[in-house]
Amino acid sequence: MTAPALAISGLQVTYVGPPPIRALDGLSLDVAAGECVGVLGESGSGKSTLAKALLGLASGAAVEGGLRLGGADLGEVDLGGLDEAGWRAVRWRRIALAVQSTSSLNPVLRVGLQLAEPQMVHLGRTRAEADERSAAVLAEVGLDGEALDRYPSELSGGQRRLVLLAMALVCDPSVVVLDEPTAGLDPSIRARVVDTLRRLRDERRVALVILGHDVEAVGAVADRVAVLYRGWLAEVGPARRVLDEPRAPYTWALLNARPTLGSVKDLRGIRGDPPDPTEIAPGCPFVARCTQVVDLCATGRPPLVAPTGEDGERLVACVRGGVVTLLEGRDLRVSYRLSGTGLGHRSTVVAVDGVSLDVREGEVVGVVGPTGAGKSTLAMLLVRLLEPDGGSVRFEGADLLAAKGSALRAARRRVQLLFQDPYEALSPRLTVGAAVREPLDVQGLGLAEWRDERVRTELATVRLPSDAAFLARHTHELSGGQLQRLALARALILEPKLLVADEPVSMLDPSEQAKMLQLLKHLQVERGMAMVFISHDLAVVLRVADRVVVMDAGRIVEEGRGHELLLGARHPVTKGLLAASGRSTSPDGLLLRPTSRPDG
């Protein structure tokens, strides 16, 4: 294989500050000729910094690591040791940049001159030759050649963006870096730009690096996608695979967080805030926001490696090899024996019939189904309150069904069930305080004061009073809504990793229901819990769940992401549920593309 057109290894860019800001932290990436690599990252992740570093423009910053330009016929250039003069010879001729900001055009110079000058300087073209070429490139990106005579202030924002794009192309560089190339363009122009980029890649074998935060835009052209988080690559791989089945926790969270076509899920960002760029902690940068942190995560930058079960194309930087599956129910089946009607003749009801359900870290899996579909039964099975007739349940990699003694006790702490009917689940004899405290008492955690303290915090979390009078009340003195919150507090006090919530809002009026749902979702995100959310109301589930399974008669009849179900429900049960929720199955009105951020 020939040397890649652009090889980045261990690139580290630190703005000297004060305070120093590590904008890129050991980034390695190869881009081959004729390949388009998309670098996806949220705002401030270091995309523009990468672009600048690639052209030696990261002024005010210390740059370390290797940069190398190669290619079949161009000869290698090690960009690492270049001085300003050396860079000057490389810039635009070998590697060009379409910058992000439209204020990058000099306001007092005509567009024509600005397009012509790199050609005249680098390729020795005359002004006329340069203008001819500029006009051709402008036409290619969809701009009239007449723009050459204009000043930047006489062009629209989108037109200026096209000029910047054209400018990057005029010298036929072998590598083109595009910083947010399609932001602020209308769909037809955007399509045209995408088209141009494809042609560049395919016909002229240009190596393209597209930097952006817009998954759709990057996904549209990129062959490969690299996901950037705080100057560090979380995941690299073929575009479709990365976007469809994200492996790195960050990618996964990012894709879950993004608004999608017709999504009705309430938007929730990734928990926590991006880490302070001025603090350079040794561990995984995502550690503070990740739901599956283990001790190892805080000790070193996880390297980009191929996770098990993936080929070398797919690299993930996670000590846990990517998003882990928290709960794995396999082929669960259970049947209830019905009490005989006579003569010892016994019949059985297969309540759960061969259900397999995975719950990943931090994921919310919604389970819907008509009454009697086996949802509550499944819930019991998952938390091992009911022993299945067959199948297995693995929690955090261990066989839950086989667990005994302290291991089981520990596992019980990490999985909690929120019962469908709080009246049933709460002993009327207990006071509020005692009810909430019970799990701690059972688990024998901490001292008495600490437990009381925890009770009060947890009550506050679910927005119940925590004064002594309230603590002393008996559960039957509470309203249904309060009771449901109390049950939630009880479930949460052990800080479970997985909450199985069985119809947690069924008892409530719509307003209380909305509040409770928001609370539940908020707690799930902030605590990094995974959740199995069970309801017969598809509308409710779609708002909360990342993934939905539809059950009917003990079986899973359909499953998928919320919006996929919404748009493409196939099973009659699903359609029935949708209809029951009062939703049209073809919400055309939701098909509009999300608009990207305006420029400037």
Binding site: S59, G60, D83, E84, A85, G600
Partner: protein
């Protein structure tokens, strides 16, 4: 604020400049008390060179130049403050209003500005000098009246483009009052212009004061650095003897030092006002 914090704000050069300016302010306040003689007192023989009795020597009639320099610090600073500050204030106000309001206000104000701007300043000052009671305040008023248009135009030119800027439109969109917008957006943005303007207005005030004395147009103050220079240059034998060394150079140096101090503070403040400045690193300087 700690010393270090101050240092971060101004930088060492800025601190130095601030020190110089502060020193002069101190001199201006304490000067008359420190002065060994009255300004016009015939304290020695004509043209005595520097000695212990007369640190800066005496002038052609035997007045003590040390005392005159000390008194000059006050006069010059007052002129600098009143005339320089006043010029900038008036100019900035008029310029900001014209630039911000635009339209008819702008054109009307600018016509007046242009007319004043093209009139020859010297006769203008003679006319004003005849009608305003001369004295430090009167003189400052004259200087302000003659020099404000320059600053009005400068500030207007800086304010004009701001009206079209998105962030300021946004502020207006939030319902910010004109005063708030001017304070929070316009002022910091034209801050650079204002600082440069203040320094130039101050030095122009000092120079005009001295220049008027030189031309024999008005001479209301007898103890500014400008008038010491004027006295010295008035003396025909200045360059035929070596008296220029202790008579002419000290006031020139004093004015220069004060202005350098102001400039240092100014350039340091400019960095705080425009964070983008920090982004540029000189390139290709060494290579």
């Amino acid at each position: 604020m700690s010393r270090r914090a101050r240092e971060r704000r101004l930088g060492p050069a800025g601190l130095m400049g601030a020190g110089v300016v502060a020193g002069f302010v101190l001199l201006a306040v304490a000067g008359p008390a420190l002065a060994p003689y009255r300004v016009t007192e015939l304290a020695g023989d004509p043209l005595e060179g520097p000695s212990l009795h007369h640190l800066f020597g005496t002038n052609s009639v035997g007045q003590d130049l040390t005392s005159q320099l000390l008194a000059g610090a006050r006069a010059s600073l007052v002129i600098a403050l009143l005339a320089g500050g006043g010029t900038l204030l008036l100019g900035a106000l008029v310029g900001a209003v014209a630039g911000w309001r635009g339209g008819a206000t702008d054109s009307a104000v600018m016509r007046v500005v242009d007319v004043v701007l093209v009139l020859p300043p010297i006769p203008l000052m003679v006319v004003l000098g005849a009608s305003i009671d001369p004295g430090l305040v009167g003189l400052s008023a004259i200087i302000v009246l003659v020099s404000w248009p320059v600053y009005a135009r400068l500030v207007r030119a800086a304010v004009l483009p701001l009206r079209r800027r998105a962030d300021i439109r946004a502020a207006v969109g939030f319902g910010a009052s004109t005063g708030q917008v001017l304070r929070t957006h316009v002022l910091p943005d034209v801050g650079l212009v204002l600082i440069a303007g203040l320094i130039s207005a101050v030095e122009r005030a000092i120079a005009i004061e001295a220049g008027l004395a030189f031309l024999g147009l008005v001479n209301p103050t007898r103890a500014s650095w400008g008038s010491i220079m004027r006295d010295a240059l008035d003396f025909r034998g200045l360059f035929l003897t070596d008296s220029w060394r202790w008579w002419l150079l000290p006031p020139v140096a004093a004015v220069a030092l004060l202005l350098v101090g102001l400039a240092l503070v100014g350039t340091s403040v400019e960095r705080r006002l425009d964070p983008r400045l920090a982004r540029h690193q000189p390139v290709g300087v060494d290579g």
